[in-house]
Symmetry: C5
Subunit: 90 residues, 5 copies
């Protein structure tokens, strides 16, 4: 999983039917201090995340399908937690 911040959402009227009914958000990967790292991408939401939230994103198809509860959802990336805080130690 990586940390990311929700930027907003993507509107796509013309899409493959299997995406209908899923909420997809655009997210920006961040490091442990909340600084941007790497490039934004699009993930499916499973925890009612919203813009500005720092979230946990799992980026593997099998994990995504387990979280979404079906073997047929063609998602690779899924938002699976909303981060309250990162505790750095050591």
């Amino acid at each position: 999983m990586i940390l990311a911040r929700v930027l907003g959402n993507v509107v796509a009227t013309k899409k493959h039917p299997s995406y209908t009914g899923h909420k997809t958000l655009i997210v920006q990967p961040v490091d442990e201090y909340g600084n941007d790292t790497g490039t934004s991408f699009v993930a499916c939401d499973s925890v009612q995340a919203g813009p500005g939230d720092v979230v946990l994103v799992e980026q593997e198809g099998n994990c995504a399908r387990q979280i979404l509860g079906t073997l047929k959802d063609p998602f690779h990336s899924v938002i699976c937690g909303i981060v309250d805080r990162v505790k750095l130690e050591g």
Copy 2:
């Protein structure tokens, strides 16, 4: 999924038979503002995308096979939506 812009297509007369009959496009990854990020690659189209379109691309083999509707298509990357707009908030 990532955002990408369709650049054009790739002509390959000599190819593995399993690719015959599929439309493959070359796409450039972009960020939420439409700026180029990373390197172009080749994806199979499932939504009748054309040059200049900003599209959603799924990059996992199992997702690609679900979208294409067969377990036998050897594609890793598939275009699965045409983006109308990206709404940034928060």
Copy 3:
């Protein structure tokens, strides 16, 4: 597998139920000299690692599921060893 250093942990009250009961740590990839490389990410712990430990992290879903002993845990990255030392030769 890669080498990484444990930075701390991530608190997420709101998360998908399948993550409940798992210890997740934030780790920083390092090279053979312990220098930071790349970006921090979140991994599930299987060896009671703690902050400051240099650890081995496996980053593939099937490996993670084998180590965690269940096919249902939606983890991609798992901490599977604590490094005593790296011996460079040759």
Copy 4:
């Protein structure tokens, strides 16, 4: 799939038996203009590609196994087409 240019081949006398009889080539990823991008890697050939050819390379294990026609070949990357030209539009 990505675009790549064939650089040559790799000679490895001592190798795992499952690689015997396969032609492996070293390839350099290129962009839509033929410029180098990223780092060279080794792929299995399925289309009789040769040095200097610009080729399509699929980089996923399941795709590779489908193209090679067996579930037992331990290849991740496979050359699956020889590019005649890239047509940029839009």
Copy 5:
């Protein structure tokens, strides 16, 4: 597969039981000229490689499991050949 040079090995007394009995080496990715590229990582050995050897490394879980001969070994990266030489042409 990628080319890499064996740097040494990693000593980890505390590790998940499934790693016991496997030889794991730390390797540095290299390009076709032997120059370092990217970051070192840890791979399981299947060909009796040693420090200083330039090796072929396969980085996919299914490939690794096929080479190691068991579906239960939680390795993603495996050393599967020792490179005699790279022949560049074209």
